[in-house]
């Protein structure tokens, strides 16, 4: 039964990684850049939700929506101010800017909310828990898994069925050809940041509902791990990010449970290295050759 408990915990943690990884992979696919500030958007989302619940006394649903709106605007602003001017610059310049943006967000959070960890209120989510035989699933876990499934389904429908979603795929494949179709590339990149950042807000809330310690660096480690998950699944691939996230969560929890609690994170990265040795494009990454 401990095995099943671990599996469910792994699924729950993995679902959060998957939601974060989606933001990394979509931005990478479309803007061809690694947005290392993505993890910190998660932290901002969690803080906004925290303030809404704790200080402003708004109902949870509205606090969460507010967090999503703030993060969406934050994502669009970061892209417009920091990344757009560097569209023609070398990828290294963009990467350094993203790292700088990450520190900027952390330090702004430090100024506003201080260094002391805040305890994220979880009463709204930890009402009841589900008992299946001997397995006990907390409502936070259940909600996390359900929310991530809904997000994955909606995102898949969006990119495969809607005109905007297809336009995003075009930009991701070939920016020049997408422009020739009449697709506004800058607007598409903004939209991608908006979606990724809204997802980051959701991930932040889910993360803090299960691990309720909130501080300015809260987003860093999950951000790095979700980035790992995106690479693991094949960066640029949406199903890859989902698969990579879920697998990584499960590996992490099992590693901690059966091998070593201290080495949990090391195991995650070791698995990444091994997978990349055999599949350099990631699990679902697909290099395509030119046909003649």
């Amino acid at each position: 039964m401990i095995f099943l408990d671990n599996l469910i915990n792994g699924l729950s943690l993995g679902s959060i990684y998957a939601i974060i990884a989606l933001g990394y992979t979509m931005v990478y696919g479309i803007a061809k850049m690694l947005n290392f500030a993505h993890g910190d958007v998660i932290m901002v989302g969690a803080y906004i939700a925290f303030c809404g619940l704790q200080y402003w006394g708004i109902p949870p649903v509205f606090a969460f929506l507010l967090a999503m709106v703030v993060c969406t605007l934050l994502g669009i602003t970061i892209e417009g101010l920091a990344y757009r001017p560097l569209r023609q610059a070398t990828s290294l310049a963009v990467l350094i800017t993203a790292i700088g943006m990450s520190y900027l967000l952390q330090n702004i959070a430090l100024m506003i909310w201080g260094a002391n960890p805040k305890s994220f209120p979880t009463t709204f989510i930890n009402g009841a828990s589900l008992h299946l035989g001997k397995i006990n699933i907390s409502s936070a876990t259940l909600i996390t898994i359900l929310v991530s499934i809904v997000i994955m389904v909606l995102l898949t429908l969006f990119t495969s069925k809607t005109k905007l979603g297809k336009a995003m795929r075009c930009v991701s494949e070939d920016r020049g050809a997408a422009e020739l179709m009449g697709i506004n590339v800058n607007r598409t990149i903004s939209l991608t940041f908006a979606i990724g950042s809204a997802l980051a807000a959701i991930a932040g809330i889910l993360l803090c509902s299960s691990y309720p310690i909130l501080q300015p660096t809260t987003g860093s480690m999950p951000g790095i791990k979700a980035f790992t998950a995106a690479v693991f699944g094949g960066i640029g691939s949406i199903p890859g990010a989902m698969l990579g996230g879920v697998l990584l969560g499960i590996i992490e929890i099992f590693g901690k449970a059966y091998i070593s609690t201290e080495l949990g994170d090391a195991i995650v990265f070791a698995v990444l290295i091994i997978v990349l040795l055999f599949k350099p494009a990631g699990l679902l990454g697909k290099p395509m050759r030119e046909k003649v």
Binding site: K163, C170, G176, E179, L180, M181, G182, I183, K286, K291
Partner: protein, 243 residues
């Protein structure tokens, strides 16, 4: 349609175009015209500036100097993503189809600039011209053969219902039998009234389908005139047709 040729206002008028890649002066004052219903071809050696000219007209590159007028409206500086809304489409060099999307999705993206309710009719029209694509409708673009990918790229460019369709090296990298097929298609498009500006290294084929031609040499127009006359011209024969 031949009676209107050359008489009314040109559909595309490019005047004194200069384009640079950094310090390199790639296009040095090119002027050309395309009239409605015509096939005009730009031929010339590698690096003569053919693709640069086409990409500049399409808005992918910014000219340093010169004007581009489409249907009486100046369009230079419009930007590539807006050109297709103005009635100009480019089928780019190297095909550039969306390899991970299906044939149908590729075609739908070609009609991105048009209202949704018109797409179905255009799809039918394109499938009538390219029955092979109809057979491959649900296949992923990257799995098509080179010739089929070229057809898809041309069909995609047609989906925007352009006033002027520009084709950049459609025969590049294709087997001779497929080259013939591609030029048959270009001929058919021409006969159905599509105005075409064609860039080709295969001068023989290009001159045999075109009405008029411009010969480019190191960024300048070296010769221009009726395609059939250029085909007989000694200099052209020596330089581009290997006779």
């Amino acid at each position: 349609m031949s009676e209107i040729k050359g008489q009314d206002l040109p559909l595309l008028k490019v005047k004194d175009l200069h384009v640079y890649y950094g310090a390199i002066h790639a296009v040095k004052g090119i002027s050309l015209e395309v009239h409605e219903g015509e096939i005009v071809t730009l031929i010339g050696a590698n690096g003569a500036g053919k693709s640069t000219t086409l990409n500049t007209i399409a808005g992918l590159l910014k000219p340093r100097q010169g004007s581009i007028v489409l249907g009486g409206v100046p369009v230079d500086g419009t930007g590539a993503s807006k050109m297709v809304f103005k009635g100009l489409s480019l089928c780019p060099e190297g095909r550039r189809i969306f390899q991970h999307m299906t044939v149908r999705e590729n075609l739908e993206m070609g009609a991105y600039s048009r209202p949704n309710e018109e797409i179905e009719a255009s799809l039918e029209d394109v499938f009538r011209r390219f029955p092979r694509l109809k057979e491959r409708e649900k296949q992923i673009g990257g799995t098509l053969s080179g010739g089929e990918q070229q057809m898809l790229a041309m069909a995609r460019a047609l989906m925007s219902k352009p006033k002027l369709m520009m084709l950049d090296e459609p025969s590049m990298g294709l087997a001779p039998i497929l080259v013939d097929q591609i030029f048959d298609i270009i001929q058919e498009l021409h006969e159905s009234g599509v105005t075409i500006l064609l860039v080709e290294q295969n001068a023989q084929m290009a001159l045999s389908v075109a009405d008029r031609a411009y010969v480019l040499e190191t960024g300048r127009i070296a010769m221009s005139g009726d395609a059939s006359e250029l085909l007989q011209n000694d200099d052209v024969q020596k330089a581009y047709l290997g006779n």
